[in-house]
Symmetry: C3
Subunit: 260 residues, 3 copies
Amino acid sequence: MITLTSDFGLRDPYVAEMKGVILSINPEAKLIDITHDVKQFDIRMGAFMLASAAPYFPKGTVHVAIIDPEVGTDRRAILIETERGFFVGPDNGVLMLAAQNQKIQQIREITNSQFMLPRVSNTFHGRDIFSPSAAYLEKGVSPSQFGAEIANPTWPNFAEIKYKKDVILGEVLHVDDFGNIITNIPEQEPRQKQIKGFSIVLRRKMLNLKFSKTYGNGKFKEAVAIIGSHGYLEIALNQGNAAEEFSVTAGDEISVSVVR
Amino acid sequence: MITLTSDFGLRDPYVAEMKGVILSINPEAKLIDITHDVKQFDIRMGAFMLASAAPYFPKGTVHVAIIDPEVGTDRRAILIETERGFFVGPDNGVLMLAAQNQKIQQIREITNSQFMLPRVSNTFHGRDIFSPSAAYLEKGVSPSQFGAEIANPTWPNFAEIKYKKDVILGEVLHVDDFGNIITNIPEQEPRQKQIKGFSIVLRRKMLNLKFSKTYGNGKFKEAVAIIGSHGYLEIALNQGNAAEEFSVTAGDEISVSVVR
Amino acid sequence: MITLTSDFGLRDPYVAEMKGVILSINPEAKLIDITHDVKQFDIRMGAFMLASAAPYFPKGTVHVAIIDPEVGTDRRAILIETERGFFVGPDNGVLMLAAQNQKIQQIREITNSQFMLPRVSNTFHGRDIFSPSAAYLEKGVSPSQFGAEIANPTWPNFAEIKYKKDVILGEVLHVDDFGNIITNIPEQEPRQKQIKGFSIVLRRKMLNLKFSKTYGNGKFKEAVAIIGSHGYLEIALNQGNAAEEFSVTAGDEISVSVVR
């Protein structure tokens, strides 16, 4: 099984070209799209998407992620083996969040041209390098055949949460298509026994929110704090768009005070 | 074979997570997307999409449809067996139109946690309940194992057509991406032998339309009445967008007088 | 393996209906989407998409392309056999560019109703004629069984490049989602040994561009001339949108003078 994540969109033929390359090498491969609508060149959003979906795939799955603004420069092509599977893509951080969650065993630079298309363009390594490498990997070629091991991969710059007395300082990781505001604050932090509510500051606006178990239990268009399906604190509007309501986008700061 | 219908869009990783869950349980499953661009929370549009596509799939297909504004509340999760296949989703009507066309044999509430993910979130039953249930069902688990039979499923509120002397009163079921206006008036009604044309009232505007066999036979941008591919009366513009031209959206009333 | 290209979009159930029809006839078929976001009725864009992706698919692949503004009129349905595979679609030029690149062996009109759905609508031959034909073809039915050979297929009107002394006159074939401006000038033309740069005229604006090997090597938002992944001259902006910057759309003229 091979998953594909990119910022190519589905209008252009680029994703299909990658699939054609994989299926020419490995006709039995099962191909699953994670998303191709990552914001262009947004490595961080790609990393979040891949890390969200990867845990749900079977052991041995090969994940390919191509958010690659530096294609054709000297940024490296890498392959990561984890305890649960494999990751293939550019060495710019897009693979690291998902790979790290599965315990990394080895990282190698892909340099063996035997596992690339005969002619490698400067503009589309997704098709010319990453797709054939993934196809051969899924076919059983050993990681060691692709190139030498490396020790210094590039990490994406995800904000870490900070504490300032009783206040948790985090940021907005992603705004999904429902307008749910997904933060980088894991559920262990705010979900403490005696909590009755949150006081959240978003774009200098203070919100006093109830902590809800579901999107749907609140009043119509009521804002709620919720632990979303990936285990992070989210701010949502019941049947409405929270990000629009509060003019929030990915990267915005958030500070949370817990009301006990 | 398992089909997927939702209002999740393809930008977020939600659809991929569902696919990963299904393939982890049932690696041989063949997954086909019907659409993930149902208008958010629009049960009726989801029901129409599923009912349009389901008849074309092979016997035994499992159809999963997740338009689920009440996820996490006490709305039930259900499984329907018909003469031709299976339907899995929330008990809010989204499955009923398609299931009814295939003759319903039994409806069961899904309560057996053995066929759910070990941890069920309050926000994403598509991934945590419906996908694993569909995967097990497709693997051959008997419907009776999922939970008890129920007799009172929720029905979607599709308008029924009415008659007022020679006038048929219906409504706009759906506007497709070509701008074709799809009504809920089945072809048996207006397609009578001696018909020369229709007089159609849409948003208080009277249109005298020719009845055409094809979109393409009229003049450029000419409006025509047509029996669309699903057997309903449509209003279309030859190489143009009828819904924009007449400012029509789903749910609008339509009244049709036949000119003999 | 069967690929699908259309202008149906992914919101409506039309693509899923085609897939259901194919899988009902041929449950083993592997289905790959090239794109369904061709601009509506834009035969030329469909032809470019198909021609871009088709070379990357395995020998024997059946390519179905439905950009079909004249569906239901007397335009023919055709099947093309090439040295590498098969093409199925309307006889309006959409198949020809891709088929021609693979050396055409025979072109037949599809007239045998045995390989169509029992009831053929006037509005959706993609589902009723082309999908079942492709499914049977992939199952091994001989092309000769579908209908008689024809000698006069319709060709799409792609501009050919012209020369005026040292100036190459071409046009913009496609603007991709990154805003890259893809021209119809093949790499053999401008990529000559002593070239230092190009002087390009786009919408009466003169650009003096460097010839770059990659999108990413220039300065931020710098415009570069590049040989794209399909072997055509492109104008791109490093991490920016060249088509927006220069207000260019598909079909625009381009003239190129080489600076030696």
